[in-house]
Amino acid sequence: MAGICCGVVGEGDTPAPLEPTTRPSRRRSLDILPLKYIADMAVPPSDGSRKRPKLDLRDRDNVVQNCDESTGHKVVKKEAKVEIHDNISETKNVTVADASEVEDSPKFGVTSVCGRRRDMEDSVSVRPSFTQGFHYFGVFDGHGCSHVATMCKERLHEIVNEEIDSARENLEWKLTMENGFARMDDEVNRRSQSNQTFTCRCELQTPHCDAVGSTAVVAIVTPDKLVVSNCGDSRAVLCRKGVAIPLSSDHKPDRPDELLRVQSKGGRVIYWDGPRVLGVLAMSRAIGDNYLKPYVISEPEVTVTERTEEDECLILASDGLWDVVSNETACGVVRMCLKAQKPPSPPGSPGSDVAADGSDRACSDASILLTKLALARHSSDNVSVVVVDLRRDQRQSSNSN
């Protein structure tokens, strides 16, 4: 795996090394992880205005972006092992409802790592064919503790499935997803009021967890549509013919419409190590966080995008990635991995790249590479990445076999 990653990085028709950014840093020990990175496309200048880096909680300078030319094989190899383990543990949770559906499921890759934070509070949920012809991908970035993100991972797809079934005749995606998120939020808050146990520190300390929450970015892939529902500051990005198209908008407290909404409810946004609702929470929407209602709500923003032949991939990730990697850079990385992929072998033939659960080596490589890039750029958070292959010719090719 590590060798393949290095090989993929090395290949490239027009290598353009990413310019290293030198910025003074007051970190005591500057842990530089050398990582060689070659992108097919240049980063557009508008990226600066769009990118809003997350401030360091300790009031330190922004993270240093440093990409050396040399590659530390030992470090890369070590990282690859850790990430492979995380990847395997995550994909084990995937349940394929029907074996015959595997061929129609999009190929995907998942990586979810603790990174430089002490605790792992991210969750990822992948449910191919979770309902007839629809595929579900979700990333949940918890804060305060992990159990809200864990509940979202285990329950939200079931709730959404029920909402879809009850609205089968005339399915309106915005209403369906809003109902699903509201029910998920109710379940979280109902559980925090009871004395049920969690498999986390809350069980040991205090059962009253009004101050725990999670982001939720969910993508439902249908044969002709991409439905993205977002609540919080995780993000979904579509790569279409080399162009990065954001399918979600981060719910930061200083986003003008979010700022107005919080203020209209009687709350306020205070700049305390960055803009925070009441100076406490760095996002304006989340599942849970009952103590900050009605300022922090669980209502998702829903986008419905028609699929086209030019669609290449879909990336869902937590802000551990997006705080240090731009949409365009992420799309470039994934595009490069997909391009390097060989044509798929016939099913069942020896050496097939397609895993039984629908995950794909190219997508896995892409998610691993994005995660390593985030860590190399000193992301200070958990990092969770889901890469979904949306190319149509793949399916046509597999159908013809």
């Binding site: 909680l57 300790r58 009031d59 934070r117 605790d119 509070e121 918890g142 804060h143 305060g144 503790c145 004395n195 520190r201 300390q205 205090t206 009253h208 967890c209 009004d210 101050a211 725990v212 929450g213 306020r268 205070i270 700049y271 305390w272 190590d273 960055g274 925070r276 009441l278 100076g279 406490v280 929470l281 760095a282 103590y291 900050l292």
Partner: protein, 257 residues
């Protein structure tokens, strides 16, 4: 807001006496770092009139001179709650506030007896028993839990803080008073000191928590109070749920016996 000026520069072992503007004598013992031990008052204090008003004291218009650099502030209780324990509020919740500081007070009524609430509040070694934002706590100095003990608190993720080093200033099991100050840590609350008192209120308990803290650079006094009040209020609401649940569980157990 009731502002009292220091009349003497020396601090006696005996309770200090301050003059009210109408020359009424009031005995007040501020929570101060100067005192190593809590000195109980042997005589009941005269009733103190506590004016209702905003939680955050406004900065005096006059520029602070050397004599007015520090002032004694008794944060006001919200309307309707001042009746419960005005003497104790003035006694324990008077803070010495610098010009660059702010202070505030938060109250919470709990449907549980004082003994049940105090059993949770007094655990200086286990603040995560009711404080939502504490992930773990270790007492690093002090044999046993007594005045002078220092704990290292680790904060949960998502907050603008990582750790907090806190010293126990007051622990009075008779009068149900606990006080701690923040002496270090990775956060923006410098010179934070809080006092929590419990008061019988019918069959329930009135919890009063007041604090004083530096206003961080770049923020206003109002913003600082909004931030800290949110944390304190969340903790006290959690305390109410825990104490009430424990009381209910005890009652159920008693019925079964």
């Amino acid at each position: 807001m009731l502002l009292l000026q220091h009349q003497q520069t020396h601090i006696y072992i005996a309770p200090e006496i301050f003059f009210y503007y109408k020359f009424k004598l009031i005995i007040i013992m501020p929570s101060s770092l100067h005192f190593d031990r809590f000195n109980p008052i042997t005589h009941a204090a005269t009733t103190v009139a506590i004016a209702n008003g905003v939680n955050c004291p406004k900065q005096p218009q006059a520029p602070p001179s050397s004599t007015a650099a520090r002032r004694l502030v008794v944060p006001s209780l919200s309307s309707g709650r001042g009746i419960a324990a005005p003497d104790t509020v003035a006694l324990h919740h008077a803070h010495v506030v610098d010009p660059n500081q702010c202070c505030s007070i938060v109250t919470q009524h709990i449907n549980a007896p004082v003994s049940a609430v105090w059993a949770v509040v007094r655990r200086f070694d286990n603040p995560q028993g009711y404080k939502n934002f504490v992930r773990s706590c270790h007492v690093i100095t002090g044999d046993g839990i007594r005045v002078g003990a220092v704990r290292e608190v680790r904060v949960v993720s998502g907050l603008p803080a990582e750790t907090s080093t806190e010293r126990l200033e007051i622990l009075d099991d008779e009068r149900h008073v606990i006080s701690f100050s923040m002496v270090g840590g990775d956060h923006r609350l410098r010179n934070y000191q809080s006092v929590t008192t419990l008061h019988a209120n019918g069959n329930g308990t009135l919890v009063i928590e007041s604090y004083v803290v530096d206003v961080p650079q770049g923020n206003t006094k109002e913003e600082t109070c909004v931030f800290v009040d949110t944390i304190v209020r969340c903790n006290l609401q959690s305390l109410a749920q825990i104490a009430e649940n424990r009381t209910n569980n005890c009652e159920h157990t008693a019925q079964h016996c």
